[in-house]
């Protein structure tokens, strides 16, 4: 662990007029030729990752999973992290959550360095992570009690728990335990639990990854609906290109690991509220999709997908690719072989 205070370092550095290069490893960055920092973001940076690198100890020595990840996020922004499996998306999220410590660099939230996990950076985990011995209500209650035990009365807490469960449309099954509800419902409760903490940043690690397409669409709609009222700052990991384009203000595309970094950042300038059916024919929407797909499958081809016979790690995206770019994919595979 670095012994200096990271936030001080950042402050000092900026005072000395040193500009941090955001998105250190820009590769073929068409969207942001110089830097990804738009003037708007500089004024109201809410969450900032600066030079984040991490080494995991392994029997064969240190494994550098992330190398020099830089990102600035404004308040109320919805960011998607997309990249091939194993590139280090979860690691980025865990560092922001405080569950992992960056080896160098660090994360600053509202001017304070992130050193440990805390409820102001609520996490929605991929596999819901509800306590199986507690009902939906009690799961949210555990979080609410912890965050508001000094500021809310018993009755206020109850109202707040019920309000958040209603927000995710789970008020009808509040007193059911996780094993009595479907996967999508569990994920809704997980989101309610995170929202109920009133976090400054909502971190979601492939929140809908384990759900079927229809359920996923429902949850995406719920999430957009919630976003219009709460306007949370969100970082969401996804491997679904449509989901990323539909939900995000910006899509952060990561290069392949090891030593992964931010590859490109794509601004999604589609006005809200967004409607998935209307967008299906929208040329800008399809352009964004194409940008992400070409980053993933042309610039950052995953080793596993290079081998035609090799196991396909991400069925959704792979399927997607086949549907839309069959010819292209086949010619690529032939090249590789």
């Amino acid at each position: 662990m670095a012994s200096y205070s990271f936030s001080e370092l950042v402050k000092g550095a900026t005072l000395n007029g040193v500009r941090f290069i955001v998105c250190g490893h820009l590769q073929n960055n068409r969207m942001h030729p110089q830097t990804s920092t738009s003037p708007k973001e500089q004024v109201m940076t809410h969450l900032e990752l600066t030079g984040v690198s991490i080494d995991f100890p392994t029997p064969k020595g240190a494994f550098r999973a992330l190398d020099n990840v830089n990102l600035k996020i404004a308040k109320g922004e919805f960011i998607s992290l997309i990249g091939h499996s194993g590139c280090g998306k979860s690691t980025v999220l865990n560092i922001v959550a405080g569950l992992y410590q960056a080896t160098t660099g660090g994360v600053v939230l509202d001017g304070k360095e992130v050193r440990e996990p805390g409820p102001e950076r609520a996490v929605v985990f991929q596999n819901h992570s509800l306590l199986p011995w507690l009902s939906a209500y009690e799961n949210v209650e555990l979080a609410v009690r912890q965050v508001f035990r000094r500021t809310k009365s018993k009755a206020e807490m109850r109202d707040w728990i019920e309000h958040n469960l209603a927000l995710v449309h789970m008020d009808h099954a509040m007193h059911k335990r996780p094993d009595e509800i479907s996967g999508g419902m569990k994920q809704r409760v997980g989101i309610a639990r995170a929202l109920a903490m009133e976090p400054k940043v909502l971190l979601m690690d492939e929140p809908f990854g384990a759900l079927d397409a229809l359920t996923r669409a429902h949850l995406q709609d719920s999430l957009m609906e919630i976003q219009t009222t709460l306007n949370n700052t969100v970082i969401m990991i996804t491997h679904d290109v449509d989901e990323a384009v539909l939900l995000s203000d910006r899509i952060v595309m990561m290069t392949n690991g090891p030593a992964a970094s931010v590859g490109e950042i794509l601004d999604i300038e589609l006005e809200r509220p967004r409607d998935r059916i209307a967008l299906a024919d929208d040329t800008r929407y399809n352009h964004y999709r194409h940008e992400v797909l070409s980053f993933l499958y042309e610039k950052q081809r995953h080793p596993a997908t290079d081998e035609a016979a090799g196991p396909v790690k991400k069925p959704e995206v792979a399927q997607d690719l086949q549907d839309r770019n069959t010819a292209k994919a086949e010619s690529k595979a032939a090249e590789a072989a």
Binding site: L99, A122, L131, P132, W133, L142, A143, R177
Partner: protein, 327 residues
């Protein structure tokens, strides 16, 4: 259990064969097994001659159990009579002289077979409860903290395989030396048995609890970290519920060991209880002795089985996972 007719209607004609098959599995097959066993026992017993006469078969064992019940009833009648006499005497004394000092003495007859069962049950439960009160908190602590685990693991591994017989002399001497009181609340023999049981049945609960707690999924630990749950809340809301199944596995193993250890300790130390009953009969060496010992053996087995069922029932009552198949 699939044949249980939950709806309460009469079984349809085509359900009857499966109903019969279910009955056969749950009732008839075990019954057949029992009958075969009794028969084999009967034949084998007739062919084993010991210095105390023939090895007891099912018939002798039945006779002896009837005897033991009769003895117990006789002893109870005597006790009632004794207490009546004493009360009458005291009442007369008080009638003559209201300031007279009356003495109330306990009946001191020979403990019967059933008294010994009672003593053993009380001792085993006390030893087991004490062991659990120690093992569960320690198990949780070393399950949560790998440094503590590393510190305690060698000790656990060292003491776990120690036989009760090795502890017994030490425990006896220590209890005699330390527990000195004019009006002891507990008999020394009770304490000796209790601590021996505790020392031997501590380990399965401790180890299983520790394993259960250390196996909590990383996701749940992360939830706890993100919420910044205080230590106690983490233990109560996450560690204990998560490790409950493993903990109960340990508790059931511990109770089984406790019961086995107790009988051995009572035999060796001549402490009151079923073990002493067996030993006394063995020393007695009458022609009935082997039959009476055999009754004790069967009762010990039955009680051990019932204790395990009781733990299972407790686990089912406490368990949050009602779908888990517990057996």
């Amino acid at each position: 259990m699939s044949t249980l007719n939950l709806s309460g209607r009469l079984p349809a004609r085509d359900e009857l064969p499966t109903l019969a098959a279910g009955m056969a599995r749950t009732l008839i097959v075990p019954l057949m097994g029992l009958l075969v066993f009794l028969f084999a026992w009967h034949i084998a017993a007739r062919n084993i001659d010991t210095s105390l006469g023939q090895f007891p078969g099912p018939v002798q064992v039945y006779e002896q159990s009837v005897n033991l019940i009769a003895e117990h009833n006789r002893e109870r009648t005597k006790e009632v009579a004794f207490i009546e006499r004493q009360e009458k005497r005291n009442a007369e004394k008080l009638a003559k002289d209201p300031s007279a000092e009356v003495r109330i003495r306990d009946y001191t007859g020979k403990p019967t077979f059933f008294d010994q069962i009672g003593t053993s049950l009380v001792t085993v439960m006390s030893g087991f409860v004490l062991a659990s009160l120690l093992a569960i908190p320690i198990g949780i602590l070393i399950g949560l903290n790998s440094t503590l685990y590393a510190a305690l693991n060698p000790l656990v591994q060292l003491f776990k395989p120690v036989s009760p017989l090795a502890w017994l002399p030490l425990v006896t001497m220590v209890v005699s030396a330390v527990y000195v009181s004019d009006d002891p609340l507990f008999a020394k023999s009770f304490l000796t048995s209790l601590f021996t049981v505790t020392l031997c049945c501590l380990w399965p609960t401790l180890i299983n609890t520790a394993v259960g707690v250390s196996g909590i999924s990383q996701d749940l630990k992360n939830v706890s970290k993100v919420l910044r749950l205080p230590f106690l809340t983490h233990v109560v809301k996450i560690a204990i519920p998560a490790s409950l199944p493993a903990m109960f596995t340990g508790l059931r193993l511990s109770l089984g060991i406790a019961w086995m250890v107790l009988i051995a300790a009572e035999m060796l130390a001549q402490n009151p209880g079923l073990g002493k009953f067996v030993w006394d009969e063995f020393q007695n060496g009458s022609s009935d002795s082997l039959g009476r010992i055999m009754v004790a053996v069967l009762v010990i087995g039955l009680i051990g089985f019932l204790l395990d069922r009781a733990m299972l029932a407790l686990q089912k009552a406490i368990s949050w996972d009602k779908n888990a198949v517990l057996r």
